[in-house]
Amino acid sequence: MPRLRSKRLALDMLRPLLPDSEWERVQAYPVQDVGLGTDAFGTRRELLGYAYALGYWLHRYYFRVVSSGHEHIPSEGGGVVVGNHSGVLPFDGMMVGADVFRYTEPPRLVRYMVDYFVYQMPFVGGFFRGMGQMPGTRRNFDGLVQEGHLVGIFPEGAEALAKKSEHAYELLPFSHGHVELAARHGVPVVPFGLVGAEEQQTMVADLRPLARALRLPYFPITTTFPWFGPLGLLPRPSRYFIHYGEPLRIDPGALSSIEIRRREVDRVQDVVAELVRQGQATRKQHGGAQ
């Protein structure tokens, strides 16, 4: 099967990006096989390894991530990881995932609730699923948390990726789902603030009609895309700063009162905004985004 061999070869090229010790950690990550090498969510350990190899390389050498507060990430059991979103393409999610996996022992995988449009795209949807990333439905959230996974949510939604540069680091209103689901399952919300993704691309405009026609949440016009073709989507190597905050326990009253739920959502959003400010201050100390 030459086609399979060439696919395998392409993936094997990613392997040297990961040190042996990290490769062993990926291989030791528990993927509960339900018959044909995947868990019930479709996670494939080999794909996870290759994705982590790429993520690790980007994390260490390209975005040169500086992060703190890993002690706030629960070492076991379910939890919701919540933060700000930006940067045209979701490299921020990838970096948080790589960061959590790299700095937790035993390694923890953040499984994001991903926008549906991703799963309509050939290869991309399968790749996301193979890495354990799921379409954002309530049942998927329930299933992941019940099995003790960390679930990543960007409550600003995919629209936040299309923020224009003049609105950098302004948070869009948070959706309520993460608070409601965390309260229902009694799991903590781990907030994080991420600085650096806003600088990786400069968003000029969002071609909404074209986005609607292509069934995408946005169609970016940046200083490099579409002028340089797909290469124009590659991010600039701006340094990322990630700060994790203390886990927040959500008031169970959020399940029965809209007022309490709104208050809890505001609390999470305020903490994320504060962590973003901390990240910006740390960046100044490091001499800026470069």
Partner: protein
């Protein structure tokens, strides 16, 4: 068993001795439609091996399947009838042989599910048969009615849950294939009567069924030479086998329980892995060319699979969550003597 006295409006079928998962008392007298289906043939053989099954009336259009010709005539009768005709359905319940000892179980497997040659008569057959059979069953005090539906009733798309439960969104798209709409019609007919206190009405939605000669989407796809799949998509599935499905139907017949149930195989995995496991090399074409390639293949006799019947099937995952069936039926398999002490477990 019909209870004496006036029943309360709902739920009596589960009261007292009729707890879900408990063994139904007495011997079974089974009325089975769609007897020419491979699953039905397998089930009939299983039922005949069970001493608690007193008699079986198997009905279909056409002749009796050859494998059933040698069955004990004291316990097995085959009848040919058009189930879309109300009178013919009634007559089957009034056969001399069964008038003294009426049926206690009706298993409706007859469904014109092949898109090839589908027309208005097929629609009449699918919907009317379900209606006439259910009405006759209630009139003749049948205590269990089982309709074998399909997993095609679920809406498929990128929003699907990793495991689809019985209450998931249904495919009510008006542009869906008429056979899917017939299946939903037949299901709704059953669901409308599900509160009947004297009859446990079950709708079983199986995942794709593997097995020699089985006319299911997934089986026809795997029997294609070669199977054609869209580039860049590899949905998660959990197909079952005809052996496992017939065992599940046997449990549904033998134990108390009513409602809508998913049944599926034990193995969950990407479609491509099922092909790899069987040593089959599918070819992949760009998504927009899939239907054309499928039509061409059908024209050349290389496949009987209809890509247009359930077009999103090869793109999006559909993994059935059958925990409800597991809890109510499979967990109590040991109570069914014919399945043995180990519950005669059949993997996928």
């Amino acid at each position: 068993m019909r209870r004496p006295g006036k029943p309360s409006p709902v739920g009596l079928a589960h009261d007292g001795g009729n707890e879900p998962g408990t063994l139904r008392s007495g011997k079974r007298r089974v009325f089975l439609t769609g007897a020419r289906r491979r699953v039905a043939v397998h089930l009939i053989e299983r039922l005949l091996a069970d001493s608690d099954v007193e008699a079986i009336l198997a009905v279909d259009r056409g002749a009796c399947p050859p494998t059933l010709l040698g069955c004990d005539p004291e316990r097995f009768v085959f009848a040919s009838a058009d189930l879309s005709r109300r009178r013919q359905v009634d007559n089957l319940f009034l056969l001399d042989r069964f008038r003294g000892k009426p049926f206690d179980t009706v298993l409706h497997l007859a469904f014109q599910g092949n898109p090839h040659g589908y027309n208005f008569k097929s629609h009449e057959y699918n919907v009317n048969a379900a209606q006439h059979l259910l009405e006759a069953s209630l009139r003749h005090q049948v205590s269990k009615y089982i309709f074998l539906s399909s997993d095609a009733v679920y809406r498929l798309g990128p929003r699907n849950d990793y495991k689809v439960r019985e209450d998931a969104e249904l495919n009510l798209d008006p542009s869906a294939h008429p056979i899917l709409r017939d299946t939903l019609d037949a299901e709704f007919i059953c669901r409308a009567k599900m509160d009947d206190p004297g009859c446990e009405i079950m709708v079983i939605r199986p995942s794709g069924v593997f097995g020699g000669g089985v006319i299911s989407g997934i089986n026809l796809l795997f029997e294609s030479n070669p199977p054609v799949l869209p580039v860049g998509f590899d949905p998660m599935v959990n197909p079952t086998t005809k052996e496992r499905l017939s065992r599940d139907l046997m449990l549904a017949i033998s134990l108390h329980g009513k409602g809508v149930f998913n049944v599926a195989g034990a193995t969950i995995g990407p479609l491509s892995r099922f092909f790899e496991e069987r040593g089959i090399n599918p070819i992949r074409v760009p998504g927009p060319a899939l239907r054309l390639a499928n039509r061409l293949q059908r024209g050349l006799g290389m496949t009987r699979y209809h890509a247009g019947f359930h077009p999103k099937r090869l793109y999006f995952s559909l993994v059935l969550d059958d925990m409800k069936f597991e809890r109510v039926f499979r967990a109590h398999a040991r109570q069914v003597p014919s399945l043995g002490r180990g519950g005669d477990d059949t993997g996928s």
